[in-house]
Symmetry: C2
Subunit: 209 residues, 2 copies
Amino acid sequence: MTDHPPATTPDRRPGGRTARIRAQVLDAVRAELTEGGHEGLTMEGVATRAGVHRATVYRRWRDVGGLLVDVIDAAGEMDWQPPDTGSLRGDLTALNQEIQDSLVVQPSFAVALMAASFHSEQAARAQKKLWADRYAQCEVLVHRAVERGELPSRHTDAHSLLTAATAPVYHQLVLLRADPDPQLPERSAAAAVLAAAAGAFSDLREERA
Amino acid sequence: MTDHPPATTPDRRPGGRTARIRAQVLDAVRAELTEGGHEGLTMEGVATRAGVHRATVYRRWRDVGGLLVDVIDAAGEMDWQPPDTGSLRGDLTALNQEIQDSLVVQPSFAVALMAASFHSEQAARAQKKLWADRYAQCEVLVHRAVERGELPSRHTDAHSLLTAATAPVYHQLVLLRADPDPQLPERSAAAAVLAAAAGAFSDLREERA
DNA sequence: CCACTAGTGCGACAGCTGTTGCATTAGGAT
DNA sequence: ATCCTAATGCAACAGCTGTCGCACTAGTGG
């Protein structure tokens, strides 16, 4: 067995007990993660909280990284919709507010996930994919703004604009660990919109499909 | 002994052997960190590489977090100067380029430090302080730009501007783990300058000293 | 040169982590 | 209802991690 156990794809026997134990374990992971951060995430602790034997957790998820991958994938499966307030600035502000809220809550599941994804290569890949999906979903905000005529050029790099708007929030709260600024979501969104209006993200050299 | 051993302040006996062992251990930490990332950082590995007994490392630095604090503090002690190219956009571009270079190198000591600072509360504090110092140093870029008349208002929040300029680089490379974009440093800097020129970071409500 | 002692090396130890073989249970199929 | 077997529980095990007492080395001060 060189490849991983079918943690995310319980094909063989999808029946009651297996699914039940998987749910118990994933719930335990989320609980441990939000309570004690990624530090408190132990195979032992998860097994105990889930009421499952250690060996079972080791066999199905191999290590902490495997648990995280499963949790991240589960998070990606829940449907999520970007805000729609009627204006680009409003949308980006709402998005930033949502991000800030998820990061400020103590304890923050989102922060724990980011921190933990540095532990495991698999978890990092899973989270990279999750984030790519979310940002791809958000590109519709930019397209709507272009259709409304809020942006000067049709050649606006949506991803750059979204990154410029949201990155400061993550940077302040995750990396710099600064105290949350209630005005940051709006100010960062506004700054990105102003830069976009000035053509900062116009993408004339690369036609992205 | 409830408080930590005087790892950073070897007051009692600053003599040859103690200082020599500290240097050996810190060198070993940096080497292990850059080679294997924060995953490969083990007390055992550091001790072996430094040619020192495990018990010595445990006694003086207590755990991996203690090692990281000492390394981060050492990194903060080396003097660093923000770029001075003659224009705000040039300065921010150069700064972003410097950041991107430090993050793109494989293996990246900077990324390993960030990842590792999620492990330990002490390391997180040390790095928060280091980053605050660096950003405070960079505020001179904004002040120079104001004096040159590149910015419309004297009330420009330097920290917000700097964050807006640099955050996307960190976000792309550290959190989103995207492939490095050689144009990102300049584009992000340009976007921040445009936003600042449009008054996005004017701070009229709070007079910061 | 000698005495003092902080700091280090050494080895043994407990506790924890992850693995493995075997017995048992429970979901699925005939 | 009964059998089949995947999945789990159980327990013993090796390996690693962190701690501690003791001996000794090497700065430090006289």
